[in-house]
């Protein structure tokens, strides 16, 4: 028999190994740990609740957890995926029942309520002794510090900016806006983009969800208003009312928003931009990845929010946090995993893949973030970024959704005046300050 034409066991094994190498080279970064065999250690479980189960994040988180589990022998993280819409509700139920997860991905605007419930683990001592403590941006620490206690690790940061279509701008022959653009320029661009007969609108206004209240509030800062002045509620000052009037006029008077603005939430403002219905919208860097797929990386860019009549502006700073609970059973394991997530490679890959901004200064300065035009609007917003003033009182988070959103919707629909809207909302918030 011709030896060259026979398939020996050795050749077969070589062939299989070669195929494996080629296949591994084609896999994404997040597939890598699954090629290596899992070590069978008797590790203590760490229950980790994760609440944004969409395909990319699931692949990414599975990979990060697997990397952590393979990197040491004491703890084994087990992810519990929960739909985002039910995450808070499930967490509250678990805390009330005395069985919270050891660790949870939580937005900082929820943390205040959980801290009020006495459910959040104080990690100040661990955080201050941690090797990357000084590398995390000071503002990021502010978002997770309540009553001088650090209660979470800031996994990623978000800042609000304006997404806009660069290709439409060229088609219309409009001048490229600069990062120090103004309200007037914003309005002129929104009007130019609006072609209602073609189902195209300048600005995808958000009318549903917490940020339906926060976005106009950022515009109010640009008009010289604040949420709290000397510890007193100031959301219904003249400056704030004028700013809201200007904002709702985008829908009522100038009609540069889609007719569905009053109920458009996160999904709708991102989708309408992605489908070419709107040419601008306000959001954080979390939808950059999606727009790169929907619109194309070369067809959009981001800018900071425009400067208002008071020659000011503000962008609210939020953190996606990792938070441990007092009722958790494996606090050491929770800390080990949360600090692992902020190590160089996990933090870089997590934020790069999802279009988020890392909390650590040494990572955000890397070209993946500082040189990407889709992220430039957010990076340029750091100088005037402020921690959301609505984090001041734990009860405000819920009241924004239950009372603030219906009031803003009524204002967007012209059912109440901006002054009525803000006066009524101020009364609601005042009651939660006592």
């Amino acid at each position: 028999m011709d030896e060259n034409r026979t398939l020996s066991r050795r050749k077969l094994l070589h062939g299989l190994a070669g195929t494996g190498v080629i296949a591994a080279a084609d896999l994404g970064w997040w597939d890598a740990p699954f090629i290596a065999p899992r070590k069978a250690w008797g590790a203590e479980p760490v229950r980790f609740q994760w609440s944004v189960p969409e395909p990319t994040r699931i692949a990414l988180m599975n990979s990060l957890v697997e990397r952590f589990n393979q990197s040491q022998k004491d703890f084994a993280v087990q992810i519990e995926y929960v739909p985002q819409a039910q995450a808070r509700q499930k967490l509250i139920s678990a805390i009330s029942a005395g069985s919270p997860p050891d660790l949870c991905q939580v937005w900082d605007n929820w943390v205040g309520q959980f801290q009020g419930m006495g459910a959040v683990e104080d990690i100040t001592a661990r955080a201050k002794a941690w090797k990357h403590y000084g590398d995390v941006q000071a503002t990021a620490w502010q978002t997770v510090t309540i009553d001088n206690k650090i209660v979470s690790l800031p996994l990623a940061l978000t800042l609000d900016g304006i997404f806009y279509r660069t290709d439409r701008l060229k088609e219309l022959g409009l001048k490229e806006p600069t990062p120090d653009w103004t309200w007037d320029e914003f309005l002129a661009m929104a009007k130019a983009f609006t072609k209602a007969d073609k189902n195209q609108y300048g600005y995808g206004m958000r009318g549903a969800g917490t940020w339906a209240v926060l976005y106009p509030s950022e515009f109010a800062y640009a008009n010289g208003a604040t949420v709290l002045t000397d510890g007193k509620i100031a959301i219904n000052s003249k400056e704030a009312v004028d700013a809201l009037a200007w904002y709702v006029d985008l829908a009522l008077k100038h009609k540069v928003t889609p007719p569905s603005a009053a109920t458009d939430g996160f999904v709708e403002i991102v989708e309408t931009f992605g489908r070419g219905v709107t040419s601008m919208y306000q959001h954080n860097s979390g939808s950059v990845g999606q727009q790169k797929k929907n619109v194309g990386a070369d067809k959009f860019a981001t800018l900071p929010v425009p400067i208002g009549p008071a020659k000011k502006r503000a962008s609210y700073y939020f953190s996606e946090t990792l938070t441990a609970f007092t009722g958790g059973r494996n606090k050491e394991g929770a800390w080990q995993f949360m600090s692992f997530m902020l190590e160089d490679e996990p933090s870089l890959m997590y934020c790069k893949t999802l279009g988020l901004l890392p909390a650590r200064k040494s990572i955000i300065s890397q070209p993946e973030f500082s040189k990407d035009p889709a992220l430039s609007g957010f990076v340029e917003s750091f100088p005037f970024a402020i921690v959301s003033p609505y984090l001041a009182y734990p009860g405000w988070g819920g009241k924004i959704d239950s009372d603030g959103v219906p009031l803003i919707q009524q204002a967007i629909l012209g059912k109440i005046t901006p002054k009525e809207c803000l006066d009524r909302f101020a009364d609601v918030l005042k009651k939660e300050m006592t």
């Binding site: 205040g112 009020g116 009860g395 219906p406 009031l407």
Partner: protein
């Protein structure tokens, strides 16, 4: 000499036969009663207790007994009254039209025609699809910018501007009710079809011989004989619609500006958005009372039906 042996009397049992029979009967009910106690009675009791406390989860230091405080707040809360009114519109707007169209569908499906089995199966589809999926499908159909409904109406020339069906306070409730009607028609159609099939054909033949017309036969035979099913199906559907708000939750979240906020979704919001379990408890108790009142009326009507039957 005859010997007479007297049987010794049987000792009298401690518990009589009648009582024992009763006890055995009741003991069979114990497991079910315990389940009911644990899953219905105790939670209701806890909800009533919760409603009497200032129970805001993020203010554990402020937890204290406030008696009827939450109920007083409820009476003074304009949003509660709005949600109660919205609930009435939502329930009766949905159920009445579901019944009318469901009845019409049942009468059609009762006729003999080719492909009837297939049509009957297809009729069930909206009822088979889970509520959340129905909500998502219709939310996309209503979408003003790229939804099919606006697209078709514009192409047909029946509309010149895009209508934001779920974003207009004047249209949103009608839009979600329309979806609920679409979803609920099969329930009535199948229930009433089963009733129609149970009516003996001889009754119609006899009426026909006596000269009764179509309307007369419907009025004097079909309706009276279907009455028990109509009462049960309608009452059941009213209770379901009042308590379950999956469509509203998915399609509008109670908006815009509370235009579609019903008491069930408002209760959920108070509990899980504001973490105000005391107030949510009071809302739940009021919901329970409303349903109890309705059920009492319902039982009364049903008893009347049984007697006439």
């Amino acid at each position: 000499m005859a010997i007479v042996t007297l049987a010794s009397p049987r000792p009298r049992p401690l518990i009589s036969w009648r009582v024992r029979k009763l006890l055995v009967g009741y003991s069979y009910l114990v497991p079910a009663a315990l389940c009911m106690l644990a899953t219905v009675v105790v939670p209701i009791g806890l909800a009533i207790k919760m409603s009497l406390y200032n129970d805001v989860l993020y203010k554990p230091q402020a937890y204290h007994f406030i008696g009827p405080g939450n109920y007083v707040r409820l009476v003074q809360d304009p949003v509660f009254w709005l949600t109660l009114w919205n609930s009435v519109v939502w329930v009766f707007g949905s159920v009445v039209l579901q019944f009318v169209f469901g009845f019409a569908a049942a009468l059609l499906l009762h006729q003999a025609f080719t492909g009837r089995a297939l049509v009957r199966t297809l009729t069930l589809l909206p009822w088979i699809i889970p509520g959340v999926v129905v909500g998502l499908i219709w939310e996309w159909l209503y979408q003003p910018n790229y939804g099919v409904i606006n697209d078709l109406l514009l192409k047909a020339g029946w509309m010149h501007d895009r209508v934001a069906w779920l974003s207009s306070p004047d249209l949103a409730m009608a839009a979600v009710i329309f979806t609920n009607i679409w979803r609920g028609i099969p329930f009535f159609a199948i229930m009433l079809l089963a009733g129609l099939q149970a009516i003996p054909g001889e009754l119609y033949e006899a009426a026909h011989v006596d000269g009764a017309g179509v309307v007369s036969r419907f009025w004097h035979i079909t309706l009276p004989l279907l009455r028990p099913i109509i009462v049960v199906a309608t009452a059941t559907r009213i209770i379901w619609t009042f308590n379950y708000a999956d469509l509203i939750f998915v399609m509008t979240g109670g908006g815009p500006a509370n235009a579609t906020q019903i008491t069930s979704t408002y209760t959920l919001m108070q509990a899980y958005t504001n973490l105000d379990f005391g107030y949510a408890g009071a809302l739940s108790v009021v919901l329970l009372l409303v349903m109890l009142a309705f059920t009492a009326v319902y039982l009364r009507i049903t008893r009347g039906v049984e007697e006439t039957g």
